[in-house]
């Protein structure tokens, strides 16, 4: 069975989700990953949209987190304060896993979703933090979800919107951020982890047909590819469920 880079990426992220997880996701691919996880790997996981809907019916795919489609047959509606309080509250926060994207990422998993240039002379402007910084501060082991390009994987960010490991293994502690840093970066070519000691990004797994050196070439900083192992192809059953159950209209996968 053939599959697209988007499909293997979505499945790779979905596999990270466990039954006990409360998955905070945006729309687009990150939502597909959360939905696929529920259908394939973690049927008891709970999808929680940043706009405040918990365990939505999702009879149709929403095109924004505030889409009415997240409201239909949800278990609960929360205000924004309530939503983010569930992340900041340690009882519930420890079971939350965020799937977050960004415009740029650096070797320590710090994210920029705000702007490029200097803050008073903006060259490129993005949407802003939204809830990404909140999630990154409150929730340990988020899944970062990005395509690999030289523009996105950069040595230094113009603006640090959401803290990753900041600059070493002690800097989150020094900044008094209680939760742990990100655990994983799921891309269209493979999966990156963070070194236990240095907290630098390294290539953990690469998708079938991908050459680890090609990943290095597309990443704007040195990345350790020596430990990388190949990931097996997605199973037909996984692809079938992904296509038929999570995005039958091909609104996002195409």
């Amino acid at each position: 069975m053939n599959y697209s880079p988007r499909e293997i990426m979505v499945l790779a992220a979905a596999r990270q989700i466990k039954n006990k997880d409360i998955v905070l996701c945006g729309t687009g691919l990150s939502m597909l990953a959360a939905v696929a996880a529920k259908h394939i790997y973690a049927p008891e996981s709970t999808i929680f949209f940043e706009s405040g809907a918990i365990d939505s019916g999702l009879a149709e795919l929403p095109l924004a987190v505030a889409d009415s489609r997240v409201m239909y047959k949800a278990a609960n509606f929360c205000s924004l304060v309530e939503t983010f309080s569930f992340m900041q509250n340690k009882k519930t926060g420890t079971n939350i896993v965020g799937i977050i994207g960004a415009a740029q990422i650096d070797p320590y998993g710090n994210l920029n979703s705000t702007m490029i240039g200097s803050y008073d002379h903006t060259k490129v402007r993005f949407a802003g933090s939204g809830g990404a910084c909140d999630l990154s501060c409150f929730v340990g082991s988020n899944i970062i979800f990005m395509e690999v390009t030289k523009q996105k994987f950069v040595k230094k960010l113009s603006y640090l919107t959401s803290p990753g490991w900041i600059q070493d293994d002690t800097s989150r502690d020094q900044s008094k951020i209680a939760a742990k840093g990100p655990s994983i970066v799921v891309t269209d070519m493979g999966i990156m982890g963070f070194d236990k000691k240095s907290k630098k990004m390294f290539l953990k797994e690469y998708y079938p047909g991908i050459n680890p050196e090609d990943i290095q070439k597309k990443v704007g900083f040195d990345i350790d590819i020596s430990r990388a192992v190949p990931l097996s192809e997605p199973k037909n059953g996984e692809l079938k469920i992904l296509r038929e159950k999570t995005d039958p209209e091909k609104l996002i996968l195409d």
Binding site: G52, D67, Y72, L80, Y119, L160, T161, E249
Partner: protein
């Protein structure tokens, strides 16, 4: 505060009375959902300029106000429109061209700031944004904040938790309260006294309304006296929080109003092209807003397409899959 018992007035009266030049405003909704678009259009129509806007994630309303040159400063968490615009298009261009000043916060922080305003306290604490540029980089510099006393005196303050049992204690970030001059929200239902009911997610609308010195509610339907008291648990705003009620069916169009109508995909796809070019955007404003009233705008922008976006009573949105 309007303590009268009949607060129903026209859109132009409501905007004319409460939204004035240099006002600090906030609008309800989230990206492509329940923005008070008819009120946004009336602000554009009345050419009210130099507004300061507070927003967590107001997509379309924010973008049209910026494109029309009504906004000079924005404190925001997120300016995007989901699949239709990862970054709001006029917002993007006006930021780069330095036509607006932007101060960035997180979604939670903006929500907390509105809640602080609603609660009547000067700040609320959070652990969010420690170690980030959201704390370090200020869009409004200390000098500007000193001169303009309507701004918070500081963007945010890091302090030690005074209850901590360790020394030094953990740090918390204090974010300053927001009390807009005016908040405008669009609800499914309100009654003449101002009691307001929103269906579906309420986002930050409730705190935004409570925090404001004046609140305008535009609504799809005016409920009969006493009708809303049949289920008080579904009413979010008491009458004494609301100054003006404006009856405006399709008042959130082109954004969605849960249970009433969906966002208009065709409009958003068209808007994407219009907004990318300021001269096209200017023509859009001239033709679609300045020379219309609200119902003429709906007719012009959507016309018979309106039947396509009406909500299915069961799901609350317009069922794409059923229509195929």
């Amino acid at each position: 505060m309007n303590t009268g018992k009949n607060k129903v007035i026209s859109l132009s009266q409501a905007i004319g009375r409460y939204v004035t030049k240099n006002c600090h405003i906030s609008i309800g909704g989230f990206t492509i959902s329940r923005n008070p678009m008819a009120a946004v259009h009336e602000i554009i129509r009345q050419k009210i300029k130099n507004l300061h806007i507070y927003a967590h994630s107001n997509g379309q309303g924010l973008d049209e106000l910026i494109g029309a040159g009504c906004i000079s400063k924005a404190e925001i968490a997120y300016a995007g429109n989901g699949r239709f615009a990862p970054t709001c298009i006029c917002f993007k261009r006006h930021s780069i061209e330095n036509k607006i000043m932007v101060e960035d916060y997180t979604n939670f922080q903006m929500a907390l700031r509105f809640m602080a305003g609603a609660m009547g306290v000067p700040f609320l604490p959070t652990y969010s944004s420690l170690g980030t540029d959201i704390i370090k980089k200020w869009g409004f510099n200390p000098n500007l904040r000193k001169k303009d006393t309507k701004l918070a005196s500081q963007k945010a303050i890091i302090m030690e938790n005074p209850f901590a049992r360790t020394d030094p204690g953990e740090k918390v970030v204090l974010v300053p309260a927001i009390n807009p001059d005016v908040t405008i929200i669009h609800a499914q239902t309100a009654d003449a006294t101002g009691t307001t009911r929103m269906d579906g997610l309420t986002f930050c609308d409730v705190d935004q309304a409570k925090a404001a010195r004046h609140t305008i509610v535009t609504c799809e339907k005016i409920a009969a006296p006493g009708e809303l008291s049949q289920s008080p648990q579904n009413n979010q705003l008491p009458s004494f929080c609301v100054d003006a009620v404006v009856h405006l069916p399709f008042g959130a169009y082109p954004t969605a109003c849960y249970g009433q109508y969906d966002y208009d995909v065709q409009f958003f796809n068209w808007y994407k092209k219009i907004a990318a070019d300021q001269s096209k955007f200017d023509s859009f404003i001239k033709e679609y807003i300045m020379s219309t009233d609200h119902s003429q705008f709906i007719e012009k922008a959507c016309g018979p397409g309106i039947s396509q976006i009406l909500a299915d009573p069961e799901t609350g949105y317009s069922n794409r899959t059923k229509k195929k």
